[in-house]
């Protein structure tokens, strides 16, 4: 099979071909085929992404933006082409609204630093939700504490849904930014982000969207959403690690100071002062993760060849199957049962430790994640230490879900005996 072959549009028709493109999936653990259900942590990579990175290092590795020779020109074109691809993928108005960084955490830290510096003062409020990942809690504490910015938390209900009445009442004149996740990495809750953005904008409050768990699983149109900032990671969308994107409207990027100084982000430098480069380079200091950006562009190609609506529809079916099957297990309690649900299925098993369940699944070739999933405040709300979490991707199958459920029942049985 030609690893660069673009897959057809129907996932069911091409499931075998799709799975064939992911080398990691084809191995056995203790004699059992690997069933990879830890996609919320990281997704596997198709050959087209692996080959794009390999080709870069084999054929045209060079530093970008500064060189006049052929290799540098080629590397620069490939890097900037990835930026254009991502802009198109999320329907950004301008490619210069796409800032490459290390990932979602890096992007949120950057906005937290820059937004604080440019706009926030003592007594201002940043509004987040109770289901946020630590990456959308701690940066606001670090960068806000210095100038007395308060972090306010919108509560959730027992199903893991955002309390929208509380959100409405918390949007007062002190709130200067809403920073919220699109899809919870622990609960699988899909937040009503269109409504959230509209409500915030009615009060001239900008919104930062953590799209880490959404970007590979649903079509996102930043202009339609009218979102001000959005962050996501390459490795959660079948791309390489070490690369991510901050999308921001150019009006915000023009007003915010850079968060890092160095090469490429400058226009002129003297010992007395420096002026900054135009967008997006103002926010991309130093030599970037060139190969990873190119790999991310290849991941976008891969997803667009299949189609985000196709992927979303298929994964919705898989998620329904998974949740329905988990509900049938007597000792199991689902953590996160929002009506609008995607991706992650978290649960606890009565009388059994998550790590024991996870280890016994591991021995059967089933990869899930156990623990607090970087959402410790959320665990406290549910009065648990952690969960077992299974999370899906486009290469998972209904058969894998059946095998996972069998493996889970087997693990429970072993622990009971």
């Amino acid at each position: 099979m030609n690893p660069n072959e673009i897959v057809c549009n129907s996932i069911y028709k091409d499931l075998f071909k799709i799975r064939s493109a992911f080398p990691v999936l084809h191995q056995k653990i203790n004699g059992a085929p690997l069933i990879y259900l830890d996609n919320a942590a990281t997704t596997q990579k198709p050959l087209s992404v692996i080959n794009a990175i390999d080709e870069y290092y084999q054929r045209y590795n060079s530093n970008i933006h500064r060189g006049v020779h052929h290799l540098s020109q080629k590397a620069t074109m490939a890097y900037e082409e990835s930026r254009v691809k991502i802009a198109r993928f999320i329907n950004a108005r301008h490619a210069h609204e796409i800032i490459f960084n290390k990932g979602t955490t890096d992007g949120i830290n950057m906005v937290a630093y820059c937004f604080n510096k440019a706009f926030l003062k003592k007594g201002d409020v940043v509004l987040i939700s109770a289901m946020e990942h630590h990456a959308n809690i701690v940066p606001w504490q670090i960068f806000g504490q210095e100038n007395g910015v308060e972090l306010r938390v919108v509560p959730i209900d027992s199903s893991g849904e955002l309390n929208m009445d509380a959100f409405r009442s918390m949007l007062d004149e002190k709130v200067k930014l809403v920073s919220i996740t699109y899809v919870s990495n622990t609960l699988g809750t899909v937040n009503p982000i269109k409504e959230i953005i509209k409500m915030a904008h009615r009060q001239q409050i900008p919104v930062l969207l953590d799209a880490a768990q959404a970007i590979a699983h649903t079509a996102i149109d930043v202009q339609e959403l009218d979102v001000d900032f959005m962050v996501f990671s390459g490795h959660k969308m079948y791309g390489p690690t070490g690369i991510g994107v901050l999308y921001a409207k150019e009006t915000w990027l023009e007003k915010m100071p850079p968060h890092q100084g160095g090469g490429d982000m400058i226009k002129e430098v003297s010992f007395e002062r420096s002026t900054y480069n135009r967008l997006p380079y103002k926010f991309e200091a130093g030599t970037p993760a060139i190969s990873s950006a190119i790999g991310l562009g290849a991941a976008v190609d891969y997803l667009e060849a299949i189609g985000m609506h196709e992927i979303a529809a298929y994964e919705h079916e898989l998620t329904d199957h998974l949740m329905a099957s988990l509900r049938e297990i007597e000792e199991l309690r689902l953590i996160g049962t929002a009506k609008d649900h995607a991706g992650a299925a978290s649960f606890v098993i009565s009388g059994h430790h998550n790590s024991d369940i996870g280890e016994l699944l591991n021995q059967q070739g089933i990869a899930v994640r156990t623990g607090h999933h970087c959402t410790q405040p959320l665990m406290k709300i549910f009065n648990i230490k952690g969960t077992v979490r299974a999370s899906l991707a486009l290469y998972n199958t209904h058969e894998e879900i059946e095998d996972f459920i069998s493996g889970l029942k087997n693990a429970i049985s072993i622990l009971k005996s």
């Binding site: 430790h353 998550n354 021995q363 623990g371 072993i414």
Partner: protein, 144 residues
């Protein structure tokens, strides 16, 4: 029996197990049979690991030997603890400090000793050996 004699005994016992299932059933059973630590010892000062699984360790020295009690809230961790205690508890302190626990690798449980493994077994072994060599039990940090 010495530390190494006990290790070799475990290696022989586990080598007769044909599958991962048999091995883990044995470990889980050992975990269930290991007596629960008295509440008086199951306290923060003895908590050397608090991550996905929690591990408490209490020890007493008698006549140059270290007698160790340990507990966990997860059965597999507790079973691995039982194996470590079988090998080390009651042994001379100087020998514990100098020991190399090769049995875990030899019974194909080496993956439980990686630093990012959240079950605390590596922390427990390091903690006991530090206790034996330096006289103080140091809690380890969860890396996840």
């Amino acid at each position: 029996m010495t530390i190494n004699q006990r290790q070799d005994e475990l290696i022989v016992r586990f080598s007769k197990m044909e599958s991962w299932l048999e091995k883990y059933k044995c470990i889980i059973q050992m975990g269930k049979e290991l007596p629960a630590m008295d509440d008086v010892y199951r306290k923060d000062a003895n908590l050397i690991w608090s991550c996905q699984a929690m591990v408490w360790v209490h020890s007493e020295e008698k006549n140059g030997r270290l007698f160790i009690m340990a507990d966990s809230d997860a059965f597999i961790t507790k079973g691995l603890i039982a194996l470590v205690l079988y090998v080390l508890s009651g042994q001379p302190i100087t020998e514990i400090a100098a020991s190399s626990l090769y049995f875990i690798d030899r019974i194909n449980l080496k993956e439980h000793l990686t630093p990012n493994k959240s079950n605390g077994i590596l922390a427990m072994i390091n903690g006991i050996q530090t206790l034996a060599s330096e006289g103080r039990l140091i809690a380890a940090s969860c890396t996840i």
